[in-house]
Each structure stands twice: as C-alpha cells, then as structure tokens.
C-alpha cells in the first residue's frame, strides 16, 4: 500500500519536474530563438539546412548607382555571394549582416528586387550581389548570416555565418541581378 502511494507521488513529482523543465527550456532557448550556427569562411562552400552558400567578398561605398546616384549617411555594402539549395527550389527566408555589437542589418527598401535574396534550385547555383546599408563604424567587423528558414521563436533552426572582409571604395556600387552558373562554377 505504501509502495503504491509512493509510486503515485513519484509520478506526480516527475510530471511537475517535466513541466518545469519544459518551461525552463522554453524561457531560455525557444522563446529567444533557438538556432544552430554553422560557421564558414569566404571562398568555401558552407552547407546548412538544405542551403549551400559561397561568399566571394564584400565591397562598401557611400555611393550607390541606382539609375541615379544615391549617397548614404553611412555606407552601402554589396556582398558578392553564390548559393544553391540541396533539395528544391526556394529562397532563403532572410539574409542579414551582423556587426560586432550584434546589430542586424537587412536589405534597404526602395531599390527594387536587385540586391535582395533570390530563388535558387537544387544544385542550381546563382551568383549575385546582396545590398545592405550600415553605419560607418560597423563596417570593420561584419558577418553575413543566411537564415534558410523563417525565424520562429518556437522552432529551432540552423543559420550560416560567414565573417566578411569588406573592401571600401569611393566609387559608387552598382546593383545587378543574379545569374545562373554553369555546373561547378561559384
């Protein structure tokens, strides 16, 4: 009889403990965006979450040639990147730049679809330029983060991070659309 009573008490305690544990995981990880970071380098292929990414380099300038000359109070950054998927045609949900202070920069609006993430296919690579606008003090330490899946605080995900070496120029940057690459090209 006493053994049965202890068993019920034990199971109740386990249930409470499991609930508390789940709550702790939710508070500390899920609610703050639980994700795995795959770190890569420029000029190499990095694969994560069904995407393959290859960063060629990055250029910064205060000027952008978008039919007319546009000047930023900070700097425009154009990241030269190629990517493909591993399984099906899709577009990365989000690609951002992150600086040393953790600030995130997305594509600026008002420049059309050029300079924004594009659709890629399974082992069908495209190369193009991704446009960002950052404060001048951020350009010294920038990392490109590719987020293949939609960021969701309730779901774990995988992101690719590649540190950038940014070359600063005074001549204006030019936006171009992505191009399909032949097999083996990056």
């Amino acid at each position: 009889m006493r053994r049965a009573r202890w068993a019920v008490a034990g199971m109740a305690a386990v249930a409470v403990a499991v609930g508390g544990g789940a709550n702790a995981v939710d508070s500390n990880y899920l609610a703050s965006g639980w994700h795995t970071v795959v770190r890569g380098e420029s000029a190499t292929d990095v694969a994560a979450a069904s995407f393959q990414v290859h960063v060629h380099g990055a250029t910064a300038s205060p000027h952008l040639d978008d039919d007319e000359l546009v000047t930023s109070p900070g700097l425009f950054v154009l990241v030269d990147v190629s990517y493909a998927t591993e399984d099906a045609w899709r577009t990365p949900e989000e690609i951002v730049l992150i600086d040393a202070d953790g600030r995130e920069f997305t594509q600026p609006s008002g420049f059309g679809s050029a300079g924004s993430p594009w659709l890629a296919g399974p082992d069908i690579w495209f190369r193009g330029g991704l446009l960002f606008e950052v404060p001048a003090d951020a350009v010294a330490d920038l990392t490109l983060e590719v987020r293949p899946e939609r960021p969701n605080a309730q779901l774990p995900s995988t992101v690719v991070r590649v540190p950038l070496t940014v070359t600063t120029e005074s001549s204006p940057l030019t936006l171009t659309y992505e191009t399909l690459l032949a097999e083996g090209e990056r």
Binding site: M1, A4, R5, A7, V8, M11, A12, A15, E86, D87, A88, W89, L119, G121, P122, D123, I124, L180, L181, A182, E183, G184
Partner: protein, 225 residues
C-alpha cells in the same frame, strides 16, 4: 444450608466460551504469549483494502497519463495541422490507363524527353532540359487554376518546371488545371513544360501539386526509364 456451587475452575484453565458469539473471530496471535508489538489489522480488512488501493493507484496513473497525452495533443495542434496540410503525404498515382484523378482533375503523362537546345537556347554547361508532355482534363470550372510541376530524382531533389528555361509556345511554366471561362479560355487537353535538370540526374517521377488540392494531396506520375 447453602446451595451447592459449581466447582471452581482449576487455576490456569481457559474458559471454553468467554466471549459473545459476534466477537469470536480471534485476532492474530490470540492464544499466543503477549508481545510488545501492537497487533496488526484484522486479516479480512487487509484483504479488502489491498484491491481498493490498487484500483485507486491505477486510476491515478491512468488519469496522469491521460492528462499528459491530452495536454500534448492540445499543445501540438498547430504543428500537427501544419505538418499535414503543408506537406505532401497522400500521393495520387495513375491507374492502369495512365490517368491520375484528383477530384475533378485528370492528368496523364504522355511523353518525357531530354533536350540540349530549345528554340536555339542552350542551358548552362552541365545542364539539360527535360521536356514533359501531359494530357489534362478538368471537368469542373473555377477550380485548380494552375498546377506546379516538379521532377523528383533519385537523390530526392525536386526540380521545378518553368525556371531558367525558354519561354513561349508550346511550353508553359505551370499546367492549366482549370478555368473560369470554359467557352473563351478552355483548359488545353495537351500541355507541355520544360524543366532544367543537371546532366546525369536520374528522374524517377513527376509531381503535380496545386494550392487547391485537398490537404497533403499531390499527383505522382512515375517516369519509366
């Protein structure tokens, strides 16, 4: 003169019936030398309480498991529905005549060939075009307006039709699976699409899907090698 008294019981003798009949069930240890330990409960009571407590414990366990299962089912509702509705889990395959039917739509693969040039346009090095031809019948209007076409290969890759391929007749990027104006704009009975695939890819099937299909349903037409 006094009445004769019954003979006194000898010292140490036990009264043969000192208790009333209802209390005759002797406790354990009766007739044994007294000890310091308190007597246990009557054995009959123990036999009754044991099963009762086992039933209570079992009920508590079942209630706990049931409540946890119910909580899990409730908490995972969105995930389950999303996984089912936005995934492909019900493949509609063709019958012996080659036609696959989804509600009012019927589709049949009539040809699958590779091409290295379409209207003078060549794919990038390392790629080729897959030319797919279909027969399509839609018996109900204003449904299944367009259907995506994808080619599945042995590596699990899905190549989407109409991407990075030449445009123009007779090729379309998607199949026309329905129309709101069958008189002026009927569903063509014969339709073709182009698919860009890496050279050396081994296609195994063609998948046709539409937002208007029932949840999780898609058409899978095997490619005969």
């Amino acid at each position: 003169m006094t009445e004769p008294q019954p003979p006194a019981a000898p010292y140490g003798a036990v009264d043969p019936d000192p208790t009333p009949p209802h209390a005759q069930a002797a406790p354990p240890g009766a007739g044994e030398p007294p000890s310091s330990a308190p007597p246990g409960p009557p054995s009959g009571l123990a036999n009754e309480r044991g099963p009762r407590r086992r039933v209570a414990s079992t009920a508590a366990v079942l209630a706990l498991v049931g409540s946890l299962a119910g909580w899990g089912w409730f908490a995972s509702e969105n995930a389950r529905e999303g996984w089912w509705e936005f995934g492909r889990h019900v493949a509609v395959e063709p019958g012996d005549d080659g036609w696959a039917d989804v509600d009012t739509l019927s589709v049949r693969l009539t040809a699958a060939d590779t091409a290295t040039t379409i209207d003078g346009v060549e794919p990038p090095a390392g790629f080729e075009y897959l030319v797919l031809a279909f027969d399509v019948e839609a018996t109900e209007v204003e449904l299944y307006r367009s259907c995506t076409v994808e080619v599945l290969d042995t590596q699990g890759r899905e190549f989407l039709a109409g991407r990075e391929v030449p445009n123009g007749d007779p090729y379309t990027s998607e199949l026309m699976c329905g129309t709101s104006d069958p008189e002026e704009d009927p569903v063509p009975g014969a339709q073709s699409v182009l698919v860009l695939v890496p050279t050396g890819a081994e296609p195994v099937s063609v998948r046709i899907d539409s937002r208007e299909f029932p949840p999780a349903t898609f058409v899978e037409l095997p490619l005969r090698s």
